[in-house]
Symmetry: C2
Subunit: 232 residues, 2 copies
DNA sequence: GTACTCCATGCTGTATACAATGTGGCCTCA
DNA sequence: TGAGGCCACATTGTATACAGCATGGAGTAC
């Protein structure tokens, strides 16, 4: 039996807004709201059974994280990522991650354990049973973020995380492509190999290939989707 | 004669919080508040003669922009950038800007006018009369952001701007170094030269040298400052 | 003198009331 | 019939009241 004023929000969060943020992010990522959907404060107040203060705060956070678009003195709307923006984010990833592998291949001080763990994981994935798209997308994200972590630059890692959060939607599309899983495994193992061999140029090339393949998959998938929606 | 309830905030901002944000940023950048200084909402309410709502919003924005540090359920404090964080930010700059010059040197489509304008500006600065540190820091920032703009990646430009905002304090330190102005001019002109010559490796090297010199200046200046403050 | 408890205080977190702004529809007038 | 002005409504911006958490100091036991 639910009491009238019971909170919908998960208890593991100290503040209401933080909980609202994660819930909304999750809902947006799972297409619960269509792009361009209008979000009003009052509506969310009812949905979460809280007052406007935490809802407002959550919306501001979502806006800076790029999940919703704020229109001053009007409402918010679920952000529609256009093709160009996605390409741009993939390029920023490229910039950051090429730097990461270069750093790792140049001075690999205390990161050997991280690299070794990744090697085990992705060798296992290459030979193991197939996984769900969403899980692969998550593991792929984890691979790239682990490398960034190993580079020791916390600021860079934070930026990369923010980008990956926004791209998660499209990474899932990426892994819907057949054979993408196997090719990702091989590419990831390549990257690790070059890092361990301290081959900077090779590591950069391997990383570039990996990211560009993802970008191309997403690009064509979205163009197909647009073409289909126009023809309807 | 000031009326009792007159606003201190500038009128060019639609919202109070936006005005508070820029004012506080400016004050923090000009050492109005010492690092670690505690900022309470009530105090700022009095200072700006507004209620807690816009002040709270402003503080959240400043926290995500890295100017203040939020301590949940406690107050905020003016962020003290330690040496490691600054180094990290310089590395993120490096990652982004190496990508930018590579892009510019590879496919320089419609950016010729931007590049040419920068060339004029910095040739003039090399031969012209000396400028103030703060103005040089501003011009330097502008140089790097113009290149990012010319690369056409709006997301990357936004990230770079955010970083530069945080680093402005230290860029001014950088240009306090004698001869830094002249060497910056030469390095900037070098970068432009290699871009126009479509020499990717040269452009990358030149950009790296320029950024690293700034980083080293800041590094030694801060270490000196710390040493002095410990000996007092 | 030290460590522990408890409470007062200051501050943020949340709720709600009021002000201001933008939008859409209706009405009027040419 | 079409354009422009005006008003009502929906929604955000701002102010304020109340709740709850965190800290530090007084007081007490040992």
């Amino acid at each position: 039996m639910t009491r009238k004023n019971e909170r919908i929000v998960s208890p593991e969060f100290s503040s209401l807004s933080a909980s609202i943020v994660t819930t909304l992010k999750d809902q947006i990522l799972h297409w619960q709201y269509p792009p361009e959907h209008r979000l009003t404060e009052a509506e969310l107040c009812k949905q979460f059974n809280v007052s406007r203060s935490p809802v407002r705060e959550a919306l501001r956070i979502l806006a800076t994280d790029g999940f919703v678009q704020r229109m001053p003195n009007r409402s918010y709307r679920v952000k529609q990522h256009n093709l160009q923006e996605i390409e741009e984010l993939y390029d920023v990833r490229l910039a950051l991650e090429l730097f990461v592998v270069e750093r790792l291949a140049t001075r690999n001080d205390a990161v050997q354990s991280d690299i070794a763990a990744l090697k085990r994981t992705w060798t296992g994935l290459l030979n193991g049973s197939p996984r769900k798209d969403e899980e692969l997308a998550r593991l792929d994200t984890q691979f790239h973020e682990t490398l960034a972590h190993a580079s020791g630059n916390k600021s860079l890692l934070r930026q990369l995380r923010a980008i990956n959060e926004r791209l998660m939607l499209f990474r899932i599309i990426d892994f819907a492509k057949t054979h993408r899983a196997a090719s990702t495994c091989r590419q990831h193992l390549d990257i690790l190999k070059y890092i361990l061999a301290k081959n900077v140029a090779g590591a950069r090339k391997a990383m570039q290939k990996n990211i560009e393949e993802g970008r191309n998959n997403v690009h064509s998938a979205i163009k197909d989707a647009l073409a289909r929606s126009y023809s309807m």
